[in-house]
Amino acid sequence: MTEPSSGDDSPRRPVLVPAVGLVLATGLGITALLGGLNEVPDPNPPQYSNGQELDQGRFKTQFVEAREVVQKPRFTGDEAKRFLELVFKVTNQGKETARVGMPPAKLEGAFALSSFAGSLVKVSPSLKQQYGPYAYAVSKGVQSQQLQPGVTTTVIVRYDLLGDAPAPEKVTLDVASFEWKPGFNDPSFAWQMVADEVDDAFFPEVKARITLDVKGRGSA
């Protein structure tokens, strides 16, 4: 049994810990420089069109159609009103009643919404509105703001077409999705819109881009 002649008196230098630390720190630095571990938002989300179905987490949504609707005037002398209607068949996949809600006016802050129409984060072309848009669920001619769990309901998002402005030929919707998870500063679980953080602000992640051909004039 030979003993090393030197190095026994002085304790061995602990090199492993600082070395691992250095490697980790460098790794972290490089990762941070490259933009962190966040998933890069997909610039080309999957494309959907008329009749297709999308799983949004909280909702399963079929994009039925976009149509121009002319409402006959109720009184003679009034002008006919024209609308662009987006028609969906929405199934609430959650365990509690959800709201139809409204499409967000701006992308900022839209991530905080948990309603169905709240997930229609961008509708283009953007149509000038006086009072609209309106969104509602409808069955047997009765309107509602509720989407009951496990039930498939027709939802209509209706935009005013002001003056003689023609209805667009196509409408493109950026649609977000939801996840059942704890909130940002609230540990309780709730349906939260899937969002990405960009420069300290949250923006909804576009789950799918839906392009709908606008069907010609009907009347309601």
Partner: protein
């Protein structure tokens, strides 16, 4: 040689000490693991964040006065219908099923209003009372006050499959400032298989809401 022996003696001692330390370290590790396991086990008993501050339910059954201390609710009757006629005589139809609950309420000390209740299935699926019937037509409209009862309706729109074994939870109206441990009344509608089948297979064509 002597020098080596002199040096090796303390080394052996320190090795023995090290062995002792290793033993206690193993013990500590086992104890630590046990504590971690215990902590995890206790954690599963804990409330989920969603349960914390959740309403405190007082439970009861059909026809029973269920008293939370702040208010009392009694479910008098349960019916099913395809169409409900509102107080303004407007028919409201559904593709699902309307469950019409007739209930009465009184308060212990202060006037208060009830919120729209929820119908909850045995699987925990919860249906808010429908907004297709205006809230002014429901028992959420009148003041619930001490010393006398007020009666009225609540209407739920549910699939027929949600009826069996369902309960209704009555609470205070929603507010921006959420009160922790709010009082809540949970009434088992007593709909066993036979009664549920009876309700869902033969709903009334038109259920008129009438002021009592």
């Amino acid at each position: 040689m002597t020098a080596t022996q002199e040096r090796s003696a303390p080394t052996r001692r320190s090795r023995r000490a090290a062995r002792g330390r290793a033993g206690s370290r193993t013990l500590s590790a086992i104890a630590g693991l046990a504590l971690v396991a215990a902590a995890v086990a206790v954690q599963t008993l804990g409330l989920t964040p969603n349960d914390r501050g959740a309403p405190i339910s007082t439970t009861g059954s059909l026809g029973e006065d269920v008293d939370t201390g702040r208010f009392t609710v009694r479910v008098d009757k349960v019916a099913a219908a395809r169409t409900v006629e509102t107080l303004s005589a407007e028919p409201v139809a559904t593709e699902q099923l309307f469950v019409v609950v007739t209930a009465s309420a009184t308060s212990a000390k202060e006037p208060l209003k009830l919120g729209q209740p929820r119908l909850i299935t045995p699987d925990g699926v919860s249906y808010e009372a429908t907004d297709k019937i205006p809230a002014t037509n429901t028992l959420a409209n009148p003041w619930v006050q001490p010393g006398f009862w007020v009666s009225g309706f609540f209407v739920f729109e549910v699939p027929a499959s949600a009826v069996q074994g369902s309960k209704v939870a009555f609470g205070l109206p929603k507010s921006a400032l959420v009160e922790p441990f709010e009082p809540e009344v949970e009434v088992d509608l007593g709909l066993d298989e036979a009664k549920a089948a009876q309700l869902t297979s033969a709903p009334q064509d038109v259920y008129p809401l009438k002021k009592s």
